[in-house]
């Protein structure tokens, strides 16, 4: 299954990922020949930008740390200004396999947002405790709203089609967790179709995952707050004039 990658932009938000970003960029460029690869350096204070540039990526450097949401909206704006119709978000820490992007892009025919789901059977990815329950609850609620079974709504691996790119370039939440949960709610409200594709996860090639009870509880609380307010917000006139010329 080969998809034309010419109009696809891989966006990689990276905050202090100098160890892994180079390898991930090189892997993306070999796995997905022809696709654009944009690394958004989210205010890092290490060599993330240089390493990504040396590996062959286009690099946009944010002067301040905006979080994943800010970095992603920059990616969507870049895509819109440079004629890319599809945007795929990949983590810079190497836990997403670029090989699964082809399958996700293929699904964009019938959907506007395709999520690479970590618990959908492929590979072995495990989260325990409160954080796991938070993820299950969120997925349950968003599945109801989106009228489609979704098992991993906080996944950072997702592909957006032309409609979603236009929408997200205009409004993409910057809040922590807003970038995953609220963006899905915004997409559904604006009439976008969401689907998921099972993907395998790998161990992170740099950095340490955060697992501790207090953090998990905070995660759960923030996730629920993010979800509740995403649902309470009035649906924005989504097809507002897009800011880019």
């Amino acid at each position: 299954m080969v998809v034309n990658l010419k109009h696809t932009l891989i966006v990689m938000p990276a905050f202090n990922e100098e160890e892994s970003v180079g390898d991930v960029v090189r892997e993306v460029l070999t796995e997905l020949p022809g696709a654009g690869c944009l690394v958004v350096d989210d205010g890092s204070n290490d060599r993330t930008a240089q390493n990504a540039r040396n590996a062959g990526a286009i690099v946009a450097v944010l002067p301040i740390n905006l979080g994943v949401g800010g970095a992603m909206r920059l990616g969507f704006r870049y895509a819109l200004e440079n004629g890319f119709t599809n945007v795929v978000q990949i983590d810079a820490d190497g836990q997403h396999d670029p090989a699964s992007v082809q399958a996700m892009l293929a699904r964009l025919d019938g959907a506007d947002v395709v999520i690479g789901a970590r618990f959908a059977g492929s590979g072995s990815y495990e989260v325990r405790g409160l954080r796991r329950w938070a993820m299950i609850a969120l997925s349950w609620v968003i599945s109801r709203i989106a009228h489609t079974p979704l098992t991993d709504t906080t996944s950072g691996l997702r592909a957006s089609g032309p409609r979603a790119v236009l929408l997200f370039a205009n409004q993409y939440p910057a809040e922590y967790l807003g970038d995953t949960i609220e963006s899905l709610v915004i997409a559904v409200r604006s009439g976008c179709r969401i689907e998921q594709v099972p993907v395998a996860m790998r161990a992170r090639s740099g950095g340490v995952p955060s697992h501790n009870a207090v953090r998990s509880a905070a995660y759960l609380a923030r996730a629920l707050i993010a979800l509740v307010f995403a649902l309470l917000r009035p649906a924005d006139p989504a097809n507002r004039q897009v800011r880019t010329s």
């Binding site: 286009i58 946009a60 450097v61 944010l62 002067p63 800010g70 920059l74 870049y78 910057a174």
Partner: protein, 130 residues
């Protein structure tokens, strides 16, 4: 209430008004943010000059100890100002975010244009592809 406390009340109210008006005059405070402070200052001046007005107002709303009305109105104004500041902060953060994104895009574009320009001005390199 003796004369000293009367003078103290009036002086405090005038001080607030003078500070707010001076900040406005020097453009260190925008009108939008000063409205609440001006209103509070004027109210304080009115009450300090005519203490009877406070007793009258407390009687109208059914508050038995007039000072409680002062506390209530004072706290209400502070809460409203705090809320307004939080909302303003949110707006300012959103503006900063948009500016940061635009700056990053312009910087990237500049870098690309510079690379292209230096490629065009240097003699063609047989190894480089077009």
């Amino acid at each position: 209430m003796n004369t000293t406390s009367y003078v103290l009340g009036v002086a405090a109210a005038i001080l607030i008004l003078v500070v707010v008006i001076e900040l406005l005059r020097k453009r260190r405070l925008r009108e939008r943010h000063a409205v609440w402070w001006l209103a509070a200052g004027l109210l304080a001046l009115l009450v300090s000059i005519f203490p009877v007005s406070l007793e009258w107002a407390a009687g109208v709303v059914g508050i038995q100890v007039p000072t409680n009305l002062v506390f209530f109105v004072g706290i209400a104004i502070l809460v409203l100002v705090c809320l307004q500041h939080s909302a303003e902060l949110t707006r300012a953060e959103e503006k900063v975010r948009s500016l940061a994104e635009s700056l990053a895009l312009v910087e990237l574009r500049l870098r690309q244009v510079e690379t292209q320009l230096s490629r065009e001005t240097t003699p063609p390199d047989p190894d480089a592809d077009a």
